[in-house]
Symmetry: C2
Subunit: 120 residues, 2 copies
DNA sequence: GCGGTGTGCAACTGTGGAGTTGCACATCTT
DNA sequence: AAGATGTGCAACTCCACAGTTGCACACCGC
């Protein structure tokens, strides 16, 4: 079998934004994102609508900002946060690409198993 | 202002599979997924290619299975795991939908701010 | 200037999860 | 039947992180 078409599959691997998934793997942060999507607000304003302290919210906002999921805008003594949809769409495209890569590989392996039976 | 076009925005919120993001927020689990995309294997086989113990891998595989990201197939005394691309694509679509929802809301808010200036 | 409001930083506690070791059970091989 | 290989369960350690309290500093209105 030709091995020229195998060299290109190595690029599937490292596209996993683990840090961003960690940012999304928290209920409080999703609540914050939902509130911000309703209307951009400051940390103190969010503290009035969520069952946790302002400092906890501030930490979450820091995580979300570093993940690129929210955008911080300083206005006087206030810091106004708003969600960034572009980042989420970008991750969505990456995930879909990875999923397609999986399916492609599995289909090839299945084809080899049925046809030759020697995938060494 | 008419409120008929506001009633439909409430559906944006609860589409956040936090449990699934938690499953994806781990380096070891991504390594496992990458190995499985190379070729489906058992927990013991994976233990030979990854720097962690078989039991740790077994735990990760349990998490991934419950998240629907891998499929387990028992064959004799072996359990063969393979990645499920469909689940990942599904999450990708959900994320994109949420992102579009954010952008839609923000644009509406900006329009209100410029035009009327009274979003009460 | 002075009080009120908003933000930031620094400990501290509690808990969940990653990884380990140890052992018991099931299955394949000879 | 006996050894080897694969899996599963249970307890333990360790650490990162969510959330808290407390205090110091920056900005707005009076």
């Amino acid at each position: 079998m030709p091995d020229g078409d195998i060299a290109e599959v190595g690029a599937v691997d490292d596209g996993a934004p683990v840090e961003l998934f960690a940012a999304l793997a928290d209920d409080s942060r999703w609540q914050i994102l939902v509130e911000l999507s309703r209307s951009p607000a400051s940390a103190s304003a969010l503290a009035g609508r969520l069952p946790i302290t302002r400092q906890a919210i501030a930490k979450h906002l820091r995580v979300l900002t570093e993940a690129g999921l929210v955008d911080a805008t300083k206005s006087g003594r206030e810091v106004r946060y708003e969600p960034v949809g572009a980042r989420l769409s970008q991750v969505a495209r990456q995930l879909d690409a990875i999923a397609r890569g999986w399916d492609r590989r599995l289909e090839r392996i299945r084809a080899l198993a049925e046809g030759g039976g020697d995938p060494s």
